[in-house]
Symmetry: C2
Subunit: 395 residues, 2 copies
């Protein structure tokens, strides 16, 4: 066995996305102690930068020391107590995962299910909330990574408020890629991942909790099933707004991954959050122009499409895995397979964070045209390049 040297890749799947060189450089700086005064200062900066990208003043805004799924679990394990009623909206894999996690936390689950490729039906959610006044939590996915669909988070949060629920929101794929305003929309608990539109390395999950959610956590009677994710304990290390408070050891923080997160958040701050949203929208438009010029069908309606994750129909008769393998082998290009009900029928093309660039749009369409032609699907890569050029010129 030898040292691992990863092959060269362009990451245009559902995440991880390409990590910027300066983030990788930050990642590799020498490790220091998790209670070192210099590290505690870094922690405070990370909290403040996370507040910016989440658009919140929530004091409890921290990175969980594990991937997005653990962020999901952090929200449900801390808020839901056995017997609590939870309404879960399901329009893809990650809504389904929310249901599973809420159930394991002891929640009594009702769900509103939508077709794959559709947004959460706000009317159906309102009906469900009307029918059961005991529902305590409304949980939904803002940006469904399995389908590339954006649901109306603002409207769903309004409903939660109206029916006196707390809302729990999955923003794994939305954070820094599309508009997301935690305070303005009244989100109570939200989790994300580092490996999508933040273009950081995978393994960390930013979360944020409203004051109302923090009160509920402080007052909960049933012991959290998880010690590792118990925010009552984690807060002793990360603090809850009081930067002067002494930091008590809970677990050893993933020091280097937090260097990287800090750097990736700085990059968003330097670009500007709204500018980052606009960049995702711009390159998405060009990518769609290229795809449609190749005759490829978008699976999600335009008004609910995620710019950062484009779900497309695999052309009739084309071998899903063989094409993806050829894209990887010939062009070092990773695109995503379909997940769940979309497995075998769809590809997912990510344009996330640092990977959301004109050169990646061009490279992706050119590679796709070349490989599809090899597999017997006739299409014109040159025409697609012109379509892309026109999309950028129109902007």
């Amino acid at each position: 066995m030898q040292s691992f040297n990863p092959p060269s890749r362009i990451l245009m799947g559902p995440g991880p996305s390409d990590v910027a060189p300066r983030v990788l450089e930050a990642l590799a700086r020498p490790t220091i102690g998790h209670l070192d005064p210099a590290f505690v200062s870094l922690m405070d900066e990370i909290k403040s930068l996370l507040q910016y990208v989440f658009q919140t003043e929530n004091r409890l805004t921290i990175p969980v020391s594990a991937p997005g799924s653990a962020g999901m679990e952090t929200c449900f394990m801390n808020l839901v107590q056995p017997g609590d009623k939870v309404l879960v909206c399901i329009n893809g894999v990650f809504g389904g995962r929310m249901r599973e996690v809420a159930k394991r936390a002891g929640g009594v689950i009702t769900s509103v299910e939508n077709e794959w490729g559709e947004a959460v039906d706000v009317g159906a959610v309102e009906k469900a909330l009307q029918q059961d006044p005991d529902i305590k939590f409304l949980a939904f996915v803002h940006a469904e990574t399995s389908t590339g669909v954006r649901s109306d988070a603002r409207a769903l949060c309004n409903l939660a408020k109206q029916y006196d629920c707390l809302c729990i929101v999955d923003a794994v794929t939305s954070l820094a890629g599309v508009e997301l305003r935690v305070d303005e929309w009244g989100i109570d608990a939200i989790y994300s991942g580092t490996q999508k539109c933040l273009s950081c390395v995978p393994g960390i999950s930013p979360v944020s909790f409203s004051e109302r959610a923090v009160e509920l956590i402080q007052a909960r009677e049933h012991l959290n099933f998880s010690w590792f994710l118990d925010l009552k304990l984690v807060m002793d290390y990360w603090g809850n707004g009081d930067t002067k408070a002494k930091r008590a050891y809970h677990h050893t923080a993933p020091v280097n991954s937090l260097y990287a997160l800090h750097e990736s958040l700085l990059m968003v701050k330097e670009e500007g959050l709204e500018e980052a949203w606009a960049r995702h929208a711009q390159h998405h438009k060009a990518l769609v122009a290229g795809l449609e010029s190749l005759g490829i069908k978008m699976l999600v309606d335009q008004d609910i499409r995620l710019p950062e994750l484009n779900t497309i129909a695999i052309p009739e008769g084309i071998d899903d895995a063989a094409v993806r393998t050829d894209l990887l082998k010939q062009f070092d290009l990773e695109i995503g397979a379909g997940l769940g009900k979309f497995a075998g029928n769809a590809w997912r093309i990510g344009l996330m964070g640092s990977a959301c660039t004109r050169s990646n749009v061009d490279a992706c369409i050119a590679a796709l045209a070349a490989v599809l032609n090899q597999h017997g699907y006739a299409c014109d890569g040159d025409a697609a390049a012109v379509a892309i050029e026109n999309a950028y010129s129109d902007a």
Copy 2:
């Protein structure tokens, strides 16, 4: 806010320890996808290297995507079902944590408690096992990070076998630092951390499960409270021995941290595991010679001392925090504070992995002598240097 440049440090606390430059280099290589064929091959190599450092042929030997505490939770959440009786041995903070985690998993806990600074009392454990034949799990800490004590893991595992229990072992600080033989000793479930004697970045927890443990996990009736740590699901991604099996997405692996883990495991393999144990013992001996020459008292008896974590008494009248701050400010040296009952009375000096070198032994004793003299504790650094030199010459 600016990019974070960590201060220069020598990490001689209870972990993280200094990460070798080649591990940091590996960490910073470009991120690839968690289902990329090249990454799946890397996963197989990591499993095989972990089998080597754990000295096991257990098929389920993998790195959990979160720190050591999550590894602990992985063991208890997957094995213990509500109502199961668990005997927990407590001789420091981490035994106490085991009790807490086992309780949250639904375990009915009996504990055998020992004084801080003492090893787990094998006789008392046997008595407890005799008294209650329904005890299903015996849990103990091999190397107690809060006290620097090594317990007799082989003898405790023998007891577990004799009384038909499964044993769950905390090897966070022992792995690669002292003798540890999972198969030979008959350990059923074990967890460790990457930031101690592996000298990798913090954030990952290697675990290993015997066939008997895997059967119990496969057969469990009560749904695991944790979705993220549910090995029935995690096995679909990491595989359970069958390297040909298709890997199914569970959560996004912490790709770059796994590059680093692979490299740090390679370093142990290159040095040789027994050679690494011997190196820890050798430098420990020299460190103790230096400390005793300064008149500093070791808090743990020689036969149960961990070479990689040396707990010493803070000299009478010396200000704990002020000395550690001066060591950090003047010498860039981090040593550990006391934890739990030892807080304020003890320091913990780590000699772990890459930080376990002669130059660190020399630097630590020289810095300690200088700062202690500043604080009014008269001691002779030159004499201590001679004592160290003699210890190495005798070896």
